[in-house]
């Protein structure tokens, strides 16, 4: 379970954040503002730069969807913690719906944002991203819980 989770964190979360970090680095180091964005991007913090256009929301949506897919793709019936699996699947879907609700407004209005709106969107994006990481992490963890042939279920990695 730990190996599966570590693989998911490295290849699913950390590598997924690299494009955002590259963009932030481009703006901060090269002092090269985006074509369509907040007029004074240099004054924004790193977190605000990474999230005020809704990129973090897209990443959160991807993580949530992957988590649900991983859990549904695994065998549900006959495994332990079936209630926990359904509950976490529900939380993951709720998170996905919240992201879907917020993203259209952020992507539409970000050019007209003031400092307060940027701060609000940043906090909401960070909250949704954290929730997506946690819910889909638990999904990935629970997807690794498989029954064995003897009938006694175990928590472990899938073969391969």
């Amino acid at each position: 379970m730990a190996v599966r989770l570590a693989k998911w964190i490295v290849f699913g979360v950390v590598l997924g954040l690299i494009p955002l970090l590259t963009n932030v680095a481009k703006i901060k180091i090269l002092r090269d503002p985006s074509s369509f964005g907040y007029p004074n991007e240099q004054s924004l913090t790193l977190l605000q730069l990474a999230s005020y256009k809704g990129e973090l929301l897209l990443l959160a949506a991807g993580l949530s969807a992957a988590g649900v897919g991983d859990l549904i793709g695994s065998r549900l019936s006959g495994t332990p913690g079936i209630v926990a699996k359904y509950v976490i699947c529900g939380f993951c879907l709720a998170n996905l719906m919240a992201v879907c609700l917020l993203y259209p407004f952020v992507s539409d209005l970000y050019q007209r944002f003031g400092r307060d709106q940027i701060a609000t969107v940043t906090w909401l994006s960070v909250g949704l991203f954290t929730a997506a990481v946690l819910t889909s992490g638990v999904c990935v963890m629970l997807a690794g819980v498989q029954p064995v042939a003897g009938g006694q279920p175990v928590a472990g990695d899938e073969p391969g």
């Binding site: 976490i88 939380f91 709720a94 719906m97 909250g127 929730a131 819910t135 992490g137």
Partner: protein
């Protein structure tokens, strides 16, 4: 787009994110912590409550709702009361389980002792016991 609708969407999204976050932590702790059900429930409740409290304090502080020390102390008092209630309930359940187990073991020992005794002596013990407890 009316400001009210946008505010409602932002509030709904915030609530969903907090609930998902706490739910994920709750499910993870419930699955990962090993032990009796009551123990797992209490650990999960304490963890979820602590995180909810932290988030609420940060949000209220940033919104300017909590500005004075007395309000922080009130919130902390409520938090400690809830933690105390949870821990007290857990130890209450545990003590009750222990007592129940001790009673069952004592009953079993007494029954086995009665079975080993002379039938007449056993009947006399049962008769005397029922007379004293009546």
């Amino acid at each position: 787009m009316s400001t009210f609708l946008l505010s409602a969407i932002l509030a709904a999204v915030g609530i969903v994110s907090v609930v998902s976050l706490i739910g994920a932590i709750g499910v993870a702790s419930f699955v990962l912590v090993s032990g009796p059900l009551a123990y797992r429930l209490v650990i999960t409740a304490l963890l979820c409550f602590s995180i909810l409290f932290e988030i609420a304090m940060v949000v209220f502080r940033s919104l300017g709702i909590i500005a004075e020390g007395s309000q922080v102390i009130t919130a902390l008092t409520l938090a400690f009361a809830l933690v105390g209630t949870l821990v007290g309930a857990y130890f209450g359940v545990k003590a009750s389980d222990k007592t129940q187990g001790a009673i069952e073991r004592a009953n079993e020992t007494a029954n086995r002792a009665l079975a080993e005794m002379d039938p007449e002596a056993g009947r006399r013990v049962v008769r005397d016991t029922s007379r004293t407890t009546a």
